[in-house]
Each structure stands twice: as C-alpha cells, then as structure tokens.
Assembly symmetry: D2
Homo-oligomer: 135 residues x 4
C-alpha cells in the first residue's frame, strides 16, 4: 500500500462514497507529474535548443504548479466541496493535456520530454477517472 | 504603478490584446488573497472555538493554494494558452467564492474571517472580470 | 528505477559529482513527506481533539510547504548553487525534525500522526545524507 | 495599513514580542518578490538571448518558490518555532541574494531583471532585518 493510501486509511472521519483507489492514484500522479514537469523545465533550460523549447518550459511550469495544488486539494477531506474538487480536477486535466501534448512534440529529440509527456498523460487520465467517479 | 504592473510593462514580447489593468489587478488580488487565507487558517487554529472552524480552515488552505497557483499562471505570458488560463481562473473564482462565503459566516465573531472574506470576494470578482475580457 | 531517477538520467548536461542515488531519494522523500504532512494536517482537523492538535497542524503546514519547495529546488540542476542547496536542505531537515517530533507525540493516539512522523524522519535523514555528500 | 498588517492585528492570540512592522514588511516583500521572480523567469524565456539567461531563470524559479514558502511560514503564528523561522529566513535571504545578484548582471539590458533585482534585494534586507529582531 502506498503511503498516500495509508494516509487515506488513517483519516479519522467518513470519506463519503469516494473511490479510494482512484483518489490515491490521482494524488500520486499529481505529485509525480509535478516533479517530472519541474525537472523537464530545468532539463529544457540546459538544452542547446532552449530557444525552441520556451513554450514547453512554460507549459511545464504551469503544469507543475497546478498538479501540486491539485494533489494538495485532493489530500484534504474535511469539509469536502464537490464543486471545488471538480473545478480543480478540470484545470489539472487541462494543464496535463496541454503540457503532455507539447512535451510529446519534443519526445523524439529529448528523453526528458518523453518521460514527462507520459507522466502528464497518466495524470490527465487519473484526473478524468476520478472526475467520472464523482458523479 | 504597482510592481506587478511594472513587470507587465517590462515583458519583452507581445502581450496580445490582454487588458493589462484587469490582469495586474487579478494577479495582485490572487497573491493578497493567498496571504489572507494562509493567515486566516492560522488565526482560526488559535481560536478557542477551533472545533467549529475546521471547514473554514480547510477552505482557507485550498483557497491559498489555488490563488497562489493562479497568480503564478497569470504572471506568465510566454506560449499563452487561453484554455488553461480560463480553467485556472474558473477554479480560482470557485475557491474564492466558497472560502469567502464560509469566512463570511464567521465574520461577526472573528475579524480575521471578515478581512479574509473581503479579500476572497475581491479576488473572485477580479477573476471573473479578467475572464470576461478573455472573450 | 523511479521516475525521479529517470528524470535525472535524462538531464542533458553535466550533473557534477552529485550522488544521484542520494539526490533522487531526497527528492522523493520531500514530495512524499509534503503529501503526508498535508494529509495529516487535514486528518488532525477532523479529530474530536483538534484543539489539542493545533501545534501539530501548524508544523504539518510548514513542513509541507518547505518539503515541496525543497523537492523543487533539488529537481533543478541548471546553474547549480551549492550555498542555496545547503541552506534549503538545512531548513528542510529542521522542518522535518520539528514536525516529526511533534507528530510522534501523538503517534500512539492517531495513526495519521504515526505514518507522518515516519515520513518526516525519513525525509530529515535523506536531507542530512544529501548534505553530507555535498562536501 | 496593509492587509497583511490587518491580518496580524486580528490574530486572536499572543504574538510574543515580535516586531510587527518588520514581520508585516517581510511577509509583503516575500510575496512581492515571488511574483517578480515568476514574471522575470517568464520574461527571460521570451528574450531572444534566452540561451544566455538560463542561470537567471533557474535562480528566479528557486527564489519564487522559497519566497512563497517563507511568506507562508511567516504568516503563521500558532505553535511558533524560532529555530524553524530562522532557518527559513536564512534560506530566503540566501535565495534573494543569489537571484538579486544574478538579475543585476542583466539589469542594464533587461528592465525586468532590473525591477526583479531591486525586489530581491529589498526582500533579502527584510529577511535580515526580521532575523535581527528575533534575538
């Protein structure tokens, strides 16, 4: 059991009808994607072709911030607000889609973009799956 | 001219047709609101009635994170993505509305909730005004 | 190989003499600890004894923010600055020690504090080990 | 009175012997500097000479994250921990000095680096002044 799943198990109050597996997976993908995007932005900065990667860097920075905030919002259950959870997940899926598509364009040339694109697409899917369970 | 407006003025590329005044105001309200929410969560923790304020604290923490991320996304212009900007602003307006309403319920008893509610509502409005200029 | 380690492998420039294993472990512990602290603060909010846990919640919130920032700083290698890396790691080890000790005081009563204390202590140790390799 | 100062005034418990003016100024400089650094990193990305500004961008990103976290830590007073406050302020002053010096090197060519360098140096000074009042 991942530590995120352990923290869910030890939450002392009712988690409502949430799909714990989908929630834990989404939290983990958010933080993993935030790390990948932070590292990919930095790796792009060290490429000789950095001038061709400025849109990619910007997408990475936005996606890192949004994934990080989404991972935090999803880690809280007290006073749950479905409307806010949904808006946050929508923004995160949008950021992951944009960054994943942009990184994918450079995946053939830069392995960090390839790894990062995969992480973005997994996170986007985890957000959409969690959204679909929220009813 | 605020420093945020100065940073907008010194951006070396085209800012498109953005309403600079609405943008600078929204960025400033986001960071101001993030500070208010962080401080309000902490002030609630030090109230004797903390057990009645747990939903408020949670709203504050979410709103602080989302405002902070929105202020960052709005501070970037390179490789502008209108879809992502809109989704982020929608999430931020949603968080500010929820937190502002919750804080307002305690505004009569706690001055930090009163000040924070005002900041949340100003930030929500700044987000909605910026959204309306994005077309 | 963890994704963090993969991102290190794909960095396109010289990583200097850094101990990649210690670095990847420290990055992963930082983000894992940030999640645990965010979730523990929220779990404390939902305890009936929340009034006795306010110092714990505050430690959790600080530790989450500092671990998150440390994980980001460590994920960047371009224009490496040893002085800044050291100051950041010192602050992170200090935050993890304080939060780990505070959570440990409640570990017998609250499982989320037990899991979080373990994560804080692992992260503190990872920071100290990375510091020791920086010379 | 700034909103940060208002939030300090409405804190319901004892603030100890803290210098409220130095504290409010430091919090405000931290968030202002985080905004400047985020915007400066993005402005650097849009310069034709971006390849010469990669160290500056990296310094900006670190400084934004550290200032943001420091502003948050300083906005909390419950369960005050002087050791952690000091370590955080030391890291922040270090980040602001590094970023301010780096931006200053480009201040003659790029107005965003000039404005950002000034903000970094004000924030560094506010951190050092607050540190000196902590005894």
């Amino acid at each position: 059991m991942s530590q995120t799943a352990q923290m869910l198990e030890t939450y002392p109050a009712d988690l409502g009808g949430v799909d714990r597996e989908a929630l834990a997976r989404c939290i983990d993908e958010c933080f993993t994607c935030a790390q990948a995007c932070t590292a990919c932005a930095d790796a792009c900065l060290s490429e000789k072709s950095v001038a061709d990667l400025t849109k990619c860097i910007r997408s990475n920075l936005d996606c890192a911030d949004i994934c990080d905030t989404t991972g935090r919002v999803l880690s809280r259950h007290t006073g749950y607000d479905a409307t806010l959870t949904r808006a946050t997940l929508e923004a995160c899926a949008t950021a992951c889609k944009a960054c994943g598509d942009e990184c994918e364009r450079h995946a053939g040339h830069h392995d960090h973009c390839r790894v990062c694109a995969e992480s973005c697409h997994r996170c986007e899917q985890a957000c959409r799956e969690l959204l679909s369970t929220l009813g």
